[in-house]
Point group: C2
Chain length 151, copies 2
């Protein structure tokens, strides 16, 4: 991937991997106290007695960590215009304290806009993996990205 990225650099079939990010217990609890204060995410004792046998990260926390890896490594700095949304987000495996996460991004489609010649839509499959290779989360986001030649 070039440093200065545009729509033309997102070629279907290409696969990129980025990471790693370690997730510790205080990160999990801090995020969840603000945004997802369920026992399994904020209370280590209750979580130990619960169905996951210990604290697990909020799915929104895992998504936010993935977003950081994407913003730092994959999306263009200036040419990332917006995201209309995400299809088929799945949380497949719990994220636990001490896990080290990375992302695998596969470019699925890159479609020039019909109405606006300066941009296109990129669809990707993102897999978030832990240190054991377990896929903890998958999603198919859409990103609107500026074209290199703005005519």
């Amino acid at each position: 991937m070039p440093k200065d990225r545009y729509f033309e650099d997102y070629i279907p079939g290409r696969v990129f991997e980025y990471g790693e990010t370690r997730v510790d217990e205080p990160d999990i609890i801090d995020f969840a106290r603000r945004f997802d204060p369920q026992d399994m995410h904020v209370d280590p004792d209750a979580a130990r007695r619960g169905r996951f046998g210990g604290l697990i990260a909020s799915g929104w926390h895992t998504g936010a960590i993935m977003m950081r890896l994407l913003a730092d490594n994959f999306l263009p700095k200036g040419a990332s215009l917006a995201s209309p949304g995400i299809d088929e987000l799945r949380w497949l495996h719990p994220v636990r304290p001490g896990d080290v996460l990375r992302v695998r991004v596969s470019v699925l489609e890159a479609t020039p806009s019909r109405s606006k010649s300066d941009r296109g839509m990129v669809r990707t499959l993102i897999e978030v993996l832990n240190q054991d290779g377990d896929v903890v989360m998958t999603l198919k986001p859409m990103n609107i990205i500026a074209r290199r030649s703005d005519t």
Copy 2:
């Protein structure tokens, strides 16, 4: 909704509204510095010159705020077992500093598990609205919820 909620309380066709939560500029910048440090989310000056004409919240921040409203008001305390994922998440309208958000939750489906008699899957449509009634985000999450009579 009863205070102590179980699968049986999620009846298709029911609609609930919860909120409000105000989103201020420091909240937007603080979240985005950690998880989504794109100019449109962290740099008010660059954002003013950008395509949204000002700072907007990261979509993951809007999702996390929605999760908090759900955890506080809609999901059961003990009987919320897990979420397998989300379908059709869409970011439809920017969230700006000073916006006051609320959620509208419509129960779409409630399906008892075939393999595990103690639980079922609830599918909802969630709409996040701002103070002007604009729908800023929609999504269709799935939640696994325990049944009241654990036979």
